[in-house]
Point group: C2
Amino acid sequence: MSAHLTLHDLDQRLRGAGLRPTRQRRDLAGLLYGDGDRHVTAEVLHREAVEAGVKVSLATVYNTLHQFTEAGLLRQVVVDAQRSYFDTNTGHHHHFYNTADQELIDIPGDHVAVGSLPTPPDGMAIEQVDVVVRISPNDDR
Amino acid sequence: MSAHLTLHDLDQRLRGAGLRPTRQRRDLAGLLYGDGDRHVTAEVLHREAVEAGVKVSLATVYNTLHQFTEAGLLRQVVVDAQRSYFDTNTGHHHHFYNTADQELIDIPGDHVAVGSLPTPPDGMAIEQVDVVVRISPNDDR
DNA sequence: ATTTGTGCAAATCGTTTGCATCTGA
DNA sequence: TCAGATGCAAACGATTTGCACAAAT
C-alpha cells in the first residue's frame, strides 16, 4: 500500500491519534508503517531501530507500543505466553501462528467464517473474537 | 460429572499417562480433576494446594502442570500474555475470556463453527484452531 | 513556562533451572 | 537399588516503573 511515508504523513497520523509527534515516535512509526503490514515484538522493533541508527531505549519502545495500541494505531495479538506481538493491521482479521519459528501471518477477516457463536454470559458483551490457527512445518517424507 | 475420585482412580490416570503416581502428583490431580472442568494458573493451583494442606512447592506445580500437559491430561490455553492457563478439558472446544476478571469459560466445540479456513502456507499443516471470544461486563444504563 | 516524553537502571513478576536430597517401584 | 521426583533458592527474560533530564506546545 504505502510505498513511503513522509515525515508530514507520520506527524499527521500521530496527531490524529492524540499523540505528540516526538522524534522517537515518528521514527518508530516510520519503521512500523513504512512498508505494509507488520507483526513485531518490542525486542524486534528495538533492534530494528538501533540497526537503522534510530536512538531510542527499549523502555520507550514498550511505552510507545502501548500508547499506539491504546490510540488504535496498533493491535496486540496474544499467541505466545512469553512474548507480546503488535500488529500494524488493526482491521478485522485473524492469524496463522507458525509455532516452529514463532511467526505470525495475517488471514484476511473474510477468509474465516465464525458461525453460531454462543450467547455470552449474562451481563457480558463480546469485545473481540480472535481466531488463531496454529501451524507447523509438516515433516513428511 | 465426577463426584469424587478415589486414590486408585488417580493412580490409574497417572499411570495411564506414563507418570509415576507420586504423592504431589496425586494431590494435584485430585484438585484438578476432583470436580468438573477447571481452568487454573500455576499460582492458583499452588495456593489451593497450600490451603488444602497439601505440601508442594510452586516449582513442582509448574513442573507437574507441564508434565500433565505433555501427557495429554491438560491443555494449555494462551489468552493473556502475562499468565499461563491450564484447562482440564482436553477435548475440542473454545473459550470465552472475561477480560475484566481474567476468567476463562468453556464453549463447547460444537457451539462454534469455524468455516472456510484458508489453506495454510506451503509445507505447513494445521495443528490446532483456537477461538477466543473476549468478553467484558457491559456497563449500559 | 508548562506539560509531556524519554532514558537509564532498578524493580517486578511469572516461570525455569541447578543441585542436593528424598521417594516409589 | 536407583532412576526419577521434589524443594529450595538462585537465575531468567520479558515487561514495568521511578525519577532526573530533555523536548514539544
